[in-house]
Symmetry: C2
Subunit: 375 residues, 2 copies
């Protein structure tokens, strides 16, 4: 067995035993290595907090079997070892200062479909909303998601009834790409009525889950799933949501991860729009009514490199390449939005946001009245 | 003729000759007195900028006739001499630093109806919107205006077709009070189709104009009228507005005068809601969907005096009574909204806003991230 295969087996094993994200597990892997941690857990010898959490499931060594079965139906496990690992999207988790496991990035991602996850999420927008979508809500979802997909954006959602399904279908309908994040294994069609939809998504894009094959949906997994929809998107749009809605949970995740949150308004007489209105009113989401406005919010995503490397000769030791580019992109005076910085620095807006957060920690930039400026 | 009558005649004359607000005329009256300025204009001897502007109309001395005719149909001229002059509402004009005449407060107000204008505007909300209101727009207008009127708020609008008329009618329908500001003389029913509506408004509230009887509507008078709707209200709600809409002009006036601006969302597929969505999106208006949310925004209006006079013994020379009350109402640390200050100081929120602006000029308070704090 190659070292790579051994590592992938270790990730698969830990993903199965861990059942979701875990800060302590991630920390242990970072310190000791994935193969070593997997072996320690298998032996029941990981010690401390780790063992109590994992001991009960340590015997579930179905990794080889899971990987094999998934491979036969067109799936695979994507791990931080892989080039396609969406590392930039997950940077936001480093900004969360809590220690709860729910705030951890995914350990690894089980996917169904052939596309690379990093490419698919290079320009991606989360579109979520109530299962009980109105005719208006489905119509607007189809319009916004369809226009975004035509424009080359991947529509990320949760494959639920209502807004989610309308979003995936609109993207598929225009021959665009779409990504579904599930709260169960990617081999499980949930909801069952969407098995054909999920197959189409896997063909045109990806079906993704942090849970191993065979995992059944559970309430806490839906909440964890929402955080992945937010994490794998440049921004999240809530199309329709009741006063209390899971979509608002996704929006909260996007905000925590430093990504723009948008909401579509509707008639004030419609219960399905109350959650959106509430988010807009409370300043939790920006009002959007079209794909154009969504893109405005999510910013241009650029990868160009126009030779600004010369700028690094300035003494900004310890800054990453991106942070330096972003820092240098600031005007001499006044404040800037991440979108403007992205355009000016030639750095994808996701990376700009991540860089800004790190620059802020370093005291080099400050956020004033919604705009960033050099400190 | 009594001195009061002589002054009222002078105001009426200057209002007719001035045809709208004028900073220079207001300044001259402030310096020399209304009777003296009227006499000087009559004699063509006001000199300087004043004469060139007014000379052409100086012969139009229809004041006595206008006042007499208006009195016979239940109207009168309200001037800064009168106790009912809505001085607090007009304080915002003092904050405008431009010198254009459009930024001047009205010289005097011609009114039709028996109610006192200060009492009617003590708790008042402007509700405006497109003439081409949709069924949804008329429905929401009726709901919000009706609920506000039931709650004792005066509904202020412009008597135009569409949202304006729906707002007045809703207030009348629940036996509430309403105030119509016209861009023509109060003796002119404009639009003609609303003559019965205007009569009802005059009976339940007031029809108001800064133009003398007989004045016909004109485009610039509509813009000036919009500023009065904003000025005579604690806040302005735009229910429906196209992308370019006069209602947005009213909203801009409210903002310039330091009053809250609100907008009602609607379907993003409706052209009549585009202006509202734009204002909300750009942060020019706060999203509201009910009378309750409108009241939340406009703040409690209190007139109580709970003996805080003792506080004035602190040395805050030169501050008005209200400014001192507001200043003393601040918590030791942290920031406050005008509504909270109003409640805590026992000062109407309108006066709090005016006081804050003056305190800011004095460098005693600052506006930080949307909240006020002591400097």
């Amino acid at each position: 067995m190659s070292a790579a295969d051994e590592r992938r087996l270790a990730w698969a094993y830990l993903s199965t035993v861990g059942q979701g994200a875990s800060r302590s597990l991630s920390a242990a892997i970072g310190e000791h290595g994935v193969v070593e941690v997997a072996e320690a857990v298998r032996q029941g010898g990981a010690g401390g907090r780790l063992s109590s959490r994992l001991a009960a499931r340590a015997h579930l060594d179905t990794a080889a079997e899971d990987l094999g079965r998934l491979a036969r139906s067109g799936g695979r496990l994507v791990t931080p070892d892989d080039e396609e690992w969406p590392a930039w999207h997950l940077l936001g988790f480093e900004l969360l200062t809590t220690t709860v496991d729910a705030d951890a990035p995914p350990l690894a991602l089980w996917v169904w479909g052939e596309r690379r996850i990093d490419e698919l999420t290079d320009r991606s927008v989360g579109i979520v909303g109530t299962r009980a979508a109105s005719g208006y809500g489905e119509h607007v979802t189809a319009q916004v998601a369809g226009d975004l997909a035509v424009d080359g954006w991947t529509v990320v959602s949760g494959a639920a009834f209502g807004v989610d399904a309308a979003a995936h279908r609109a993207a598929l309908g225009v021959g665009g790409t779409t990504l579904a994040v599930l709260a169960c294994g990617v081999d499980r069609a949930y909801p069952a009525a969407h098995s054909a939809l999920l197959r189409s998504v896997s063909e045109a894009g990806l079906v993704v889950s942090e849970y191993p094959p065979g995992t059944t949906p559970a309430r806490y997994r839906f909440l964890a799933r929402n955080r992945l929809i937010a994490a794998l998107s440049a921004g999240t749009v809530v199309v329709e949501a009741g006063w209390r809605s899971g979509a608002r949970n996704t929006a909260t995740w996007a905000r925590r991860l430093g990504k723009p949150v948008m909401a579509v308004p509707g008639p004030v007489t419609s219960a399905s729009s109350q959650g959106c209105h509430r988010m807009i009113r409370e300043g939790e989401a920006r009002l959007v009514g079209s794909a154009h406005e969504v893109v405005e919010e999510c910013g241009p995503v650029l990868g160009r490199d126009d030779g600004r490397d010369a700028l690094f000769r300035r003494d900004l030791d310890g800054l990453s390449r991106e942070s330096s580019l972003v820092y240098e992109a600031f005007p001499a005076t006044g404040s800037c939005t991440p979108s403007v910085l992205a355009e000016s620095a030639g750095v994808p807006v996701e990376q700009v946001r991540a860089a800004l957060s790190l620059l802020e920690l370093d005291g080099l930039v400050v956020l004033v009245d919604g705009g960033w400026r050099r400190a």
